[in-house]
């Protein structure tokens, strides 16, 4: 892809005590591309994502979004710049209905306005209509009224995707979105991710940074792959090249990744 990258992570280091969870990690994401980050448990994948989202600050290094340095911005400001995020453990509002969870994401984009003080938000169609559409997209339309806390694990995972979709992000960060799902649901969610990556009429294709352990999912979806091991980038490049890389195969895919 031509043009400047949408996301640039430059030599980011983050320590926890003596442990370098991220050690001079760099990567770049083009607009509309899907970039997977793989690596064994404890490699520092979630730490990297948290720094891009803004809930963790890097010790050193810079992060740029659309050319703008966001290293010191709050998560909220980054969201305003078009960043959406799914958590490794689903983060939803358990006491709000699935619909309201998504409607809140729409509301965050729209702001308060006078309606914010006058209208019953639960009946606000300008919020609910896009929310229903996002729920339908992830296959949760029939559970719109269910409190998020009462949803199944997989449904809650997909609800988080709907929340992210409703934000209409430029950059979407996902931390193991299919983990813990059964084979059918997992396959359906991979298809869903492919659709999200493709964009829609009312929503341009976001760039996606995907952390995933499921290699079938990774190589089905990713344009590029970065392999993280013990906080360092072991390999990075087009998916096919990384898959063929001998070092990657021994360090990660070949051994630790052998199916049981």
């Amino acid at each position: 892809m031509t043009g400047p990258p949408l996301l640039e992570v430059v030599e980011v280091t983050r320590r926890f005590g003596g442990l370098a969870a991220n050690d001079a990690v760099s990567l770049a994401l083009d607009p509309g591309s899907l970039h997977a980050v793989i690596g064994p448990n404890g490699a520092g994948k979630s730490t990297l994502l948290a720094q891009i989202a803004g809930t963790l600050r890097p010790d050193t290094g810079r992060i740029r979004l659309g050319g703008r340095d966001i290293t010191r911005l709050s998560p909220r400001r980054r969201a305003r710049l078009g960043l959406a995020r799914g958590f490794q453990i689903s983060s939803v509002l358990p006491r709000f209905s699935a619909l309201e969870n998504v409607a809140l994401a729409v509301q965050a984009r729209r702001g308060l306005g006078l309606a914010g003080l006058l209208v019953d938000a639960a009946r606000d169609r300008s919020l609910n209509r896009p929310a229903v559409a996002a729920l339908a997209e992830v296959g949760l339309a029939d559970q719109a009224a269910v409190p998020a806390g009462a949803l199944s694990h997989g449904a809650r995972r997909r609800l988080e995707l709907a929340i992210c979709l409703a934000q209409t992000p430029r950059l979407l960060l996902l931390d193991e979105p299919v983990a813990g799902m059964g084979p059918d649901e997992s396959r359906a969610t991979v298809d869903l991710l492919a659709r999200i990556a493709g964009g829609a009429d009312d929503r341009p294709a976001p760039a996606i940074l995907l952390i995933e352990h499921d290699m079938d999912a990774v190589f089905a979806l990713a344009d590029r792959v970065t392999v993280l091991v013990q906080g360092r980038v072991l390999a990075s490049g087009p998916a096919a090249e990384v898959r063929a890389d001998a070092a990657v195969r021994t360090a990660y895919l070949g051994t630790a990744a052998a199916p049981p």
């Binding site: 006491r95 809140l104 639960a122 409190p147 199944s152 997989g154 934000q167 813990g180 990744a257």
Partner: protein, 355 residues
């Protein structure tokens, strides 16, 4: 697969859905209760018990203070342990304005006022203004830290009141007569103050009940549920919480202004942490996150406080001084067996959380 899929996190037990404050199902309670409250002074007078009009007014005033605290505790998840300071501040504004006017003194050139239409809004404004820095600092913290820092701020205001010699220091300040009202209304008539307190309470319940259901209120409730998620989708939850904190303080200030007119006396004790604790008890007793419940909590607490000592003295002389011995277990009982508080007993809603 490189590692076993993590087990699905357990579904939280009984997540009581948040539907916003819902007088929809409790409408009959509000309508019936409202009618009864309107009829109460007449009833008491007919029964020759008009002494109790003052107690009823006290319940409405503290009901207002408790309901405004419930907005923070029940809907914001913000356990403020300094709410009484804003009530006391409102009282002091009314008393100070009265003091300057009646003694012919001035404060920075201001000669005070006894006009309710000036002094009461001023009480609200001062409480709100003081709540801005206190809230801005306190809301940077959460949980037990927030409890402690709000408590610390309220104690600072308490000691400030103690140190103000002009306003009586630790002894407080007496008002010789209540605020002056327009339209020939006279606050020397307890019934007038009663209806004004009822109006103020109704206004607050309607306003807060409405605002909590709007986008503005949904941000407060959402941040209580999961602040991380709310910020991740782009909400400035800190600013919204501050706005609610200030709004709650303003109405606490109004309760204080009414209280000054009811007791015709203000003292630093009204700002102290023990008073804030009583407000928290009223909220808990009545039902956290129900808005109307804390009014019931105030009614139960203040009525027992009034009647228990007499009752106990009837059993054995001197026993009345120990009325809190009964109050403690009673509170424990309600908290343990009626988890939605007294309002839960009335409406029969299942135990749970703020809606």
């Amino acid at each position: 697969m490189p590692h076993a899929a993590p087990p699905a996190p357990p579904t939280p037990p009984d997540p009581a859905p948040d539907r916003g404050p819902g007088p929809r199902r409790a409408w009959w309670l509000i309508a019936g209760g409202g009618l009864a409250l309107v009829a109460l002074p007449g009833l008491l007078t007919a029964l020759g018990q008009d002494f109790y009009i003052q107690l009823a007014t006290r319940i409405l005033v503290y009901g207002l203070a408790a309901a405004s605290l419930d907005v923070l505790i029940g809907y914001g998840g913000l356990v403020s342990f300094g709410h009484a300071a804003f009530v006391g501040l409102g009282s002091y504004v009314v008393a100070a304005a009265f003091h300057h006017q009646t003694t012919g003194t001035s404060l920075f050139g201001w000669t005070g006022t006894n006009d309710a239409l000036v002094a009461w809004p001023l009480a609200m404004a001062v409480s709100a203004a003081v709540a801005v820095p206190i809230g801005a600092i306190s809301l940077r913290t959460a949980g037990i830290q927030f409890i402690m820092i709000t408590l610390a701020f309220s104690q600072m205001l308490y000691f400030l009141a103690v140190s103000l010699r002009t306003y009586g220091g630790a002894d407080g300040l007496a008002l010789w007569y209540p605020s002056r009202l327009p339209f020939g209304l006279d606050l020397n008539d307890p019934t007038t103050l009663y209806y004004i307190a009822l109006g103020a309470l109704a206004l607050f319940l309607a306003l807060a009940g409405h605002l909590l259901r709007t986008r503005f209120g949904r941000i407060l409730r959402g941040a209580r549920d999961n602040d991380t998620r709310m910020q991740a989708i782009g909400f400035a939850t800190g600013r919204i919480r501050l706005a609610w904190f200030v709004l709650a303080a303003a109405f606490a200030g109004l309760a204080g202004a009414l209280d000054a007119n009811l007791t015709l006396f203000v003292a630093p004790d009204g700002l102290a942490w023990a008073q804030s604790g009583e407000l928290i008890v009223m909220v808990t007793l009545g039902g956290i996150g129900t808005l109307v419940g804390p009014v019931l909590g105030a009614a139960a607490w203040l009525t027992l406080e009034e009647l228990l000592p007499e009752l106990l003295d009837g059993i054995a002389a001197g026993l009345g001084a120990h009325w809190k011995i009964i109050m403690g277990p009673l509170l424990l009982g309600v908290v343990l067996f009626a988890r939605r508080g007294l309002i839960g007993l009335v409406t029969g809603r299942p135990a749970g959380h703020a809606r």
